[in-house]
Symmetry: D3
Subunit: 162 residues, 6 copies
């Protein structure tokens, strides 16, 4: 069974998979993270012209973009990659913030982890910005939506509820 | 409304809240993250004596511990804190991995974000270790369970389903 | 002469000065950085309701706050410090952006370098955000305005022109 | 107006510009930073054979080289780049230190920010090394001198006074 | 003599060597580090089924892999490189732990320093994990075993005793 | 046996030991690293007035000081500590470079790993600076010489040969 997990060798030893012989190709991945908000946070963000919504989302967006660049420092067996583009979109939809992170690179491995990390850290930053109002924020689902490029070709996943 | 969000000043400008006058006190926080696994991953982890379960969980545990130390680099407005202890516990329960991260420090602000970051990065690392089998892993809920210390005293939250 | 430079020993060898016996005290420092803008940048930032001014300044503000936390990684002989507050204020005044960074900590050494680093990195980020319009931005003066706390007491400097 | 700033989309949301389709090319950039010194610092650096000048400049040079490698961590929307060379030259000229930083890479975007960051951090390090003598050092101008490579071709700027 | 040291220019100024014109090629390097263990550590690691050996070595292995990715942050004049694979093997042999680190990349410079850094940090982590038992661990020799790729071709070194 | 290793719990799970209840105290640690040099390197460093010795040692010294500050990022289970002083001394003795690193802090745990990390990274930097001449440099022994402070009191070790 173990041999199916590329990050472990036959003895269970962790390794960074050798991708030396894989040709670089254009790759992208999109991931989604949701932050469910308690009513006090929704009210604050929807308070109208003077609401902090734009500022909260801008800080979270920047945190997400920066986190994409640090993915290989956070996830032990990820390769360092020359990321060529990151976009993190945040929207307040009903009582939740929907985060969509898209990462691109031209390299020998995919950028799923970069997109998932960007979305996760943007969600954690939303939490940090709003926790003075309540600790009842809940993050999730965090999931891959799409990936393109590489030998395995495109993957497209259906988003979980909500 | 804005003034309730301590990370934004009256004009919406982001800031790191001044905690210079808060006395340091012993603090702890526990957070939980869940990774829902597709059947192929459950089968691999439950494959018996030769299964990669222990190795996958050990790598994720270390990633979570290290991430707690980097929280202030990832979340723009978090204070750097002298963390005095981190434990990250991972368990395979039914078709999901349950992650519990507990962080301690003696400082002027709480460690909720450190616990949530440790749990999130451990979850992302589980994803990375298993994604060769499937991309149908979904992270969430990620939530605070408990926090102690500080002026506001202890908070205990009920865990979300599942 | 050399012995007056605390970061070099009698042989010119670099060292991180031993502050083990200095009592921690409340300290603050404020630094200023100016970015002189060419007309095309001023016009863009003053374009009215749809202008990018707020967004450019918010990104620079966050970069400055984060840089304060990394000062000891950038400046080789700086001590790591438990910063307790950072505020970075940016204003468009005539044809320049005025940046004021204030950093606080309770520790054995001052936070001048943290304030100067926050102001400098905020200025570099303004440059990065506007360089698609022109490369004729010029950063400076970058200077200390004030510092409080520590044995040497308060220092207040007059700001340079412009 | 906003659309001219490539780091902001039509709604003012920050993004890391997608350079996936730009062909890598050889690029270089040179930036200059000046540190104006008060007389006590000039006297110390010019004290003759035993002066700390060489040591101060060597520490600042190394800090500048290392900072070039961290530009994408400091400036939120900068791409990570595979830098292929960095030189930081520091000279004591009259009552100021003149810093010239040159960075090279083969990639899809320019290295202006890397050169400006190297020069700025070298200047901050000079400040840190000399601040035991006086806080009257002033950094600036910090400016781009030249850039080559890329679609827009070479740019050469005249240096500001002094 | 100085000109033979590529990291110093004719005046002794440190620089990151310009490799802009070197064609990227497949490269690998292997390094070895030894940790000599006092008897109390050997007994603990050899205690049979319940021994901590596997866990100690797994933590050290992950630390070594992660350190390879940070080599250019630690060694001032190293180039940032897009590492394509890292394996760190640790074995308990008689009264010492033998560490073998192998790093691969496709780039313009070799990965000797990455392999040596991975081996060294794995050794330091073994030390950290066992120091509660004794401080009589000694690290060394740490040395290059082999390097391939690049203009200078393959180098193979004989391992030192023990 | 396992319970003697404080970094592993009863199940072998890695953890950052909880030091919340340990009182901070003044602590120091000194570590030594040796780099054995092949003749070509010794000749280059001993070449007289124009020799690169001072520059090579200064770069390595700075790298060692900076590495002490990053120990908790490199060694997974180390606590972040507010280091209050670092000195790294390098000397050319016969055919080897002797490195002595001393680290101080006021905290709840010792700084042995910080001293060992500073010495190791200084040694790796010496290697990097000289590897254009030969790859026959060998690092080791790297060992603790002394530690003071904390409940266990002072430890003094005899240095290994050579």
């Amino acid at each position: 069974m173990k041999s199916q997990l590329s990050h472990l060798d036959a003895d269970g030893a962790a390794r960074m998979v050798d991708v030396s012989t894989k040709a670089p190709s254009a790759r992208s991945a999109s991931a989604r993270a949701v932050v469910a908000l308690p009513p006090v946070c929704v009210r604050s963000l929807r308070a109208g012209p003077g609401s902090p919504k734009g500022d909260v989302l801008q800080v979270a967006r920047i945190a997400g973009i920066q986190a994409a660049k640090r993915t290989h420092e956070l996830i032990p067996l990820c390769h360092p990659l020359a990321i060529t583009g990151v976009a993190v979109d945040l929207r307040l939809v009903a009582a939740r913030i929907e985060i969509l992170a898209t990462v691109r690179c031209a390299g020998p491995t995919g950028v799923e982890m970069e997109a998932l990390t960007a979305a996760s850290v943007a969600a954690l930053t939303v939490y940090d910005m709003l926790k003075a109002l309540s600790h009842d924020l809940v993050i999730g689902p965090v999931e891959l939506l799409e990936k393109t490029g590489g030998k395995s070709g495109a993957i497209r996943r259906r988003r979980s509820a909500p």
